[in-house]
Amino acid sequence: MKSKIGVTPEVELFFRPHLARIERIFPQVADHRLFQLRFADGAVSEAFQHTPGQFIELTVPGVGEAPISVSSPPTRPGVIEICVRKAGRVTSALFELQRGDQIAIRGPLGRGFPLETFRGHDLLLVAGGLGMAPLRSLLQTVLDERRAFGDLILMYGARNPDDILFKYELLGLMNRTDMKYLLSVDADEEGIWKQYVGVVTGLFKDVSLNPETTYCAMCGPPVMYRFVVQELLNRSVMPERIFLSLERMMQCGVGKCGHCAIGPYYCCTDGPVFSYSEIRDIKEAI
């Protein structure tokens, strides 16, 4: 019997993960950690060139894969940072691992924020909760090439003062004169918070936006999108200038498995970053 038994070269391109190691682990707030990862193979590391907003499929050996957004900027290559909340099976297993342990990575996957379009324009970044993780990649990219962009505003809403991710790193932005950093917490039971208490949309009262020159990039829970989008539309920002990162159960990451279907789109290949004009007619999207 003649039959061709073998392996397919195409697999290398996108289904097979590459080994990497956990280089460092930084505890964040409760149940959140920042992991620094480095590919075992230098050539793989060099080939990994991402755009802010893209994600990886992270394999915890023997446990499975999970889609995780990249938190580090492409301007600082070599190490890949991911900010993870301990939630499901794979992330729980990840939290059991130590510095030096092996994991594996596929990616970068998906469509990130349109960095080239953003260049030369004003930027408003709006993050809610763990949505800060992918936006940190964009934020640091902009800060690393600060002169390539116009005015920069970051709005970040956390649940309470203890839940602020990248707290000290972001505190350093408060004194910068070349950007505005506005922070809100939903609730402050201990009465220690000196800044805004309330939902993130409340921060808009302190800013003026030029709808002609501003692009908005946001990441957070769906309820935040509904309110922030409305706020932006009220301020005459065009839907084409509003970009949102959506969260779905992206498994294959290459538009095959169907888990992340949103209307006619696959979140993993058409997104996870969409312009509001692309998804406003798809009710299920946000």
């Binding site: 996108f14 289904f15 080994l19 095959k256 498995c257 279907a261 209307g263």
Partner: protein, 345 residues
């Protein structure tokens, strides 16, 4: 391309001989139903059948497929490295599949074989397959292939089409692959004009026997939001038990789930068919579920097949009209009825 005529005995002997060059799959009777099996010494092919209960999609896209294997033994030098599992991409011939199921492969191909990402395993197995279709002389009451761009003798997606002419088969080669397969068969003779015109008659008669028709041409012009918000989804979903039978039997449902399984220190990464009918399908690790309600999942299945797919590919609906989901749905949800609801909304 040639047209050859074989007596039925000749044909069966012929396909047995193909085993030296192809993995040959044929329909056989198993209990009350038919299914495709690998042709072996003891196999009794039965081409006198309506259709298999399960579509032949698993012959190109296995229900469960090992993607990678790995070792979790720290003493293994390749510990934790995912290596592609060995697979057999040898030539295979699927004999006697119905034209609707060949149409099904073409629909699924749009998902698995696009320029951006070619699914390495689906594409290779599909390319290694020669599809020998058997026209439907007697379409069933649930067949509506002619409403979705097909027909009981539709040639699209097939390499050979067989016409059942009572005591003989007329085999019409449609592609290079099909000619190659036919050339390997002993016996047979060039079809005469009489046989060709008989085949045409059989085809015409079959087309007239399709009693079930539904208009799918209006779907493209419908407003997606209006359909999404239509009031009928909750009513429609009321009886659904989310069993997933429809997606399992469907030749055009392609979703899969990826899982890692470890036994002792040997691990496999496996993909298994999955279904949008199940709540776990969209569940995030965080506990959030964008489609937590049953009616949302029912709506997703039909909107995907009948609207999102239509808009995305601009080439018909994601349905081959085989009627399996209509026949086997335990609560009698009928996709033709759904199309009518969508048409009239």
């Amino acid at each position: 391309m040639e047209n050859k005529v074989f007596s039925k005995d000749e044909w069966l002997e012929g396909i047995k001989a193909l085993q030296s060059e192809y993995k040959v799959f044929v329909p056989v009777k198993a209990g009350d139903f038919h299914k495709f099996v690998r042709l072996e010494e003891q196999t009794i092919p039965d081409l006198d059948y309506q259709n298999t209960r399960l579509s032949p999609k698993s012959l190109v896209y296995p229900e469960s497929e090992r993607m990678f294997e790995f070792s979790t033994d720290e003493n293994d030098p390749d510990y934790n490295i995912l290596k592609e599992a060995q697979k057999d991409f040898g030539p295979q011939a699927i004999i006697g599949l119905r034209p609707c199921d060949a149409h099904g492969f073409l629909i699924v191909k749009r998902n698995f074989d696009n320029p951006e990402y070619k699914d390495p395993w689906w594409v290779r197995r599909y390319e290694a397959s020669t599809l020998v279709g058997l026209g439907c002389n007697e379409p069933c009451g649930t067949c509506f292939c002619s409403s979705v761009g097909g027909g009981p003798f539709d040639e699209e997606g097939l390499d050979v089409l067989l016409f059942d002419l009572e005591d003989q088969y007329l085999a019409k080669a449609l592609t290079e692959k099909g000619s190659t397969l036919l050339a390997k068969l002993d016996g047979g003779s060039e079809a005469s004009d009489k046989e060709l015109s008989k085949a045409e008659e059989v085809k015409k008669a079959a087309q007239e026997k399709i009693s079930s028709k539904v208009d799918t041409s209006k779907l493209a012009d419908k407003d997606v939001l209006e359909l999404f918000n239509a009031p009928f989804w909750e009513d429609l979903a009321f009886a659904c038990i989310n069993c997933g039978t429809c997606t399992f039997l469907c030749p055009t449902c392609w979703c899969f789930d990826i899982q890692d399984e470890v036994y002792q220190k040997i691990g496999d990464r496996i993909r298994n068919w999955d279904a949008c009918m199940f709540p776990l399908f969209t569940l995030h690790g965080s506990g959030h579920n964008p489609r937590s309600e049953k009616f949302q999942r029912v709506r997703q299945r039909f909107m995907h097949k009948l609207k999102y797919y239509v808009d995305k590919y601009g080439n018909g609906v994601q349905c081959s009209g085989c009627g399996r989901c209509v026949q086997f749905c335990p609560v009698n949800i009928d996709i033709r009825h759904v199309i009518e609801l969508m048409n009239s909304h």
